[in-house]
Amino acid sequence: MLLHSAISYADINLSGYASIVAGKVTEGDEFLADYPKAGVYDSDWSFSPDTSVGVQLTADLNDDLEFVIQAISNGASDYDIDLDWAYVNYQLNSEFSIQAGRKRLPLYYYSEFFDVGYAYYWIRPPVDNYTWQISHYNGLSLQYQPYLGEWDALFNLYTGREDSEDNELLSFLSGAPVDETWKNMVGIVAELSKDWVEFRATFMQGQLDRKVNGIDTDENVKQKFSGVSVNFYFYDFIILSEFNQYDRSASDIHVDTHMLSLGYQLGDYIPHITHSALLQEENLAGGDEDHNTTSIGLRWDYNKTTAVKIQYDKAKDKGVNIPVLGDSETISLGIDVVF
């Protein structure tokens, strides 16, 4: 009631984004285009795997207190409406702020705006690099944005947990309902950027619980994630890179992912080529995973809020014991808008 009353008098801003994407596999059987939501293309044209619409409402409750909520509907999740963000932000001063609520888990460079297609030149962030089953957390974060002249910096310290019942990716891959909990997460992200260069470093550690078919298979298992991104925007050349490591030693799971992309700004067009890969050597349980994707595409900025894209992806799946979906070639076309 109090919140409703406060919002009635708040300065409210509405923003949003939409990505309408159609695609089909031209060679092979299936292509896992969106790992977190298990969005899969097959040989028929489909809009579901990559299409999403999001609406964000920001309410300034007073000069220092803000409420942010972002609802999203994804084709890969049968167009159900989910909450991507729902938190309150308290501005301690011009450099420090604290947030409490539900946020996207900032593991990877594109994690926090994964579905905002307008913000990057691909149809979707490079698939082999974005393969994790947990995308959100409920908890607290402390952000520090200091004054550094022409440089922009952001330090984000966060803690929280996420309980995912019938997790979309794990249930899809294992063929059985999997409940996954990431708890006691503590992470830090450091970003430093200028017009032509961006650096980002990320680290998170926590514990994992897992149930398969209602049976506990993992409990209090320690896990660590670390990653580095460096991006250059040098004259018209764009170089994007990302390197990540995931480690769950108790289960003998060590995963390396990376992405390297080159683009060229040609007026309103950006042709680009990208290679992404995931490698997990065979472990004591006999599990391995080894796949990579090479993509070429073109982004056309139709106007200041709309981008049109086309992309071709060639996926190679070399996993022996845990193949994902096999080799494939896929074509996709999309339109991204922000409003």
Binding site: N13, S15, Y17, Q56, T58, W85, E112, D152, D195, Y233
Partner: protein
């Protein structure tokens, strides 16, 4: 055979020389347009209580980031003159238009906040500022001094 190789080398050299000249020329053209002697100023309504502030604060406000306690409520991008907008980006934001827009979109959908208002018509911009005394924008100094209803808060470049 040797003549053929020499021809190919000459041709490659010519292409490279032409490319280098083109790049140098484009730099001269870009620098000429930046060198246009316009002084840019921060403007607000004549009745506005807004006072001179640090340029870094102005840059943060135009990025949609919190600034030290300031009387400015909203910043407005003036896109009525592409040269003035480009000079604002170069001298205050230190980034290109594409880089600026990329930062704004990322900030809105990662950290909340509102879009930065953009006005393309100079008459509309002046009327907007007059009606919103806590908002600021930028324009050439001579235009600001000769326009009724607005005042120069400070020189930006």
């Amino acid at each position: 055979m040797i003549i053929l190789k020499t021809n190919i080398i000459n041709r490659i050299f010519n292409y490279l020389a032409t490319a280098v000249l083109a790049v140098m020329l484009s730099h001269v053209v870009v620098n000429m347009s930046y060198a246009e002697g316009t002084t840019g100023v921060l403007v607000a309504a004549e009745s506005s209580p807004i006072q001179k502030t640090n340029i870094l604060e102005i840059r943060r406000m135009y990025l949609g980031l919190p600034s030290s306690k300031s009387l400015v409520k909203n910043t407005v991008i003036n896109t009525s003159d592409s040269t003035v907008y480009r000079m604002f980006l170069k001298n205050v934001m230190h980034m290109t238009d594409k880089g600026y827009r990329r930062k704004i979109v990322k900030r809105i959908f990662r950290q909340g906040g509102k879009k930065v208002k953009e006005i393309q018509d100079i008459t509309e911009l002046v009327n907007y500022l007059v009606e919103n005394p806590h908002d600021v924008s930028f324009m050439p100094e001579d235009m600001a001094k000769s326009t009724k209803g607005i005042k120069v808060v400070q020189v930006l470049w």
